[in-house]
Amino acid sequence: MKDVHVDEWLIDHVRGDLDPADRARVDAHVAACDDCRASRDRFAALMTELARTAPAPPPIHWGAYRAELRERLERRTTGPGPLWAWLVRPLPALAAAGLVAVLVLAGLPPAVRTSDPIALDNTILATQLDMIARLDVVQQLDLLEDFNVIGELDELPEPQKS
């Protein structure tokens, strides 16, 4: 009798989501089959529990959410803008130039030369982020510190000869 069981229709049966013909077929089977009837009741109990106990997502501030959405939408619809626009915004241009300089000077991103998975993750993530367009992200990086290091490269002590 297994081949005539209606397992996969039981959930829709519980939800009242069957057309009349399928519903009549499942009704008839369930009335005669103890296994399917018990299974349907357990599905019904579980679905009730899932609906009742669904956890709420962490709260967020909807005003900030909509403001961020508007900003993203505006960025997407206006695009990155012409190249000259960067010239009148020295800080992002400087930050971008600094980032490029650091990467070029280093040859490879430091994280690539280490086995530290977190550093590697940060580096690769950085390449995924649209950092140039996202000034707020770029500003949070330790670029100023990098500039200092670059600016003082010639002041580093000579390596000691053994």
Binding site: E8, R42, L46, P57, L69, P117
Partner: protein, 192 residues
């Protein structure tokens, strides 16, 4: 009279001022909740739900009105979430460490912190523990199954609407739901 979602969507396509904001206000909580149910990460849910609204803005003109607006929009949203999940999984596979969810510096979510499920039916557990356990088990389902369970049990979508959202047949939705709920029953020790 209040505009329907479908009318607002057409207004968005025609770039009528205010229409997009109205739709966002109507759907922001549902969009974020569904995204979070699938992704279980606040920032990802925020990002994906916003991305879905942006795609809605870009493609409102392609909404043909043959389905409900909500079904059409949920499809965009769930696609964003599944894409995000694929990227996240592929990314973690690339760098070679195990799937670890982090929800920022806030308090860890109790559902996210719940221990891995085992065949350990606990008699008489209180409602809160049971709730935590049930939804922790939902987290362990495949993304498609989790989406089907969320849309069905939480959002109350009909099978044909879930099929449209997930872009699969109704039969496939039935299989997803049946397998998902059977797995949950088995892991909860509810098998008779």
């Amino acid at each position: 009279m209040e505009s329907s979602d479908e009318q607002l969507c057409r207004a968005v396509a025609e770039r009528e001022p205010g229409a997009f904001d109205l739709l966002v206000e109507r759907y922001q909580e549902r969009a974020y909740r569904i995204a979070w149910s699938v992704l279980r990460d606040r920032e990802d849910a925020r990002d994906c739900s916003q991305e879905a609204f942006i795609r809605l803005h870009e493609s409102a003109g392609s909404f043909a009105g043959q389905s409900k607006f909500s079904t059409w929009f949920y499809r965009i949203l769930v696609n964003c979430c599944l894409d995000q999940q694929r990227r996240r999984r592929g990314w973690r596979r690339l760098v070679g460490w195990r799937d670890q969810r982090a929800d920022g510096p806030d308090e860890p979510d109790p559902v996210e912190q719940a221990p891995a499920p085992f065949l350990d039916p606990v008699e008489g557990m209180d409602t809160e523990r049971r709730m935590t356990k049930v939804w922790a088990l939902v987290d362990e389902l495949s993304p498609q199954q989790r989406a089907a369970v969320t849309l069905s049990c939480r959002e109350g979508l009909a099978t044909k609407d879930i099929a449209a959202v997930l872009n699969v047949s109704e039969a496939t939705v039935r299989v997803h739901l049946h397998r998902a709920l059977s797995t949950l029953r088995r892991r909860l020790g509810d098998e008779g």
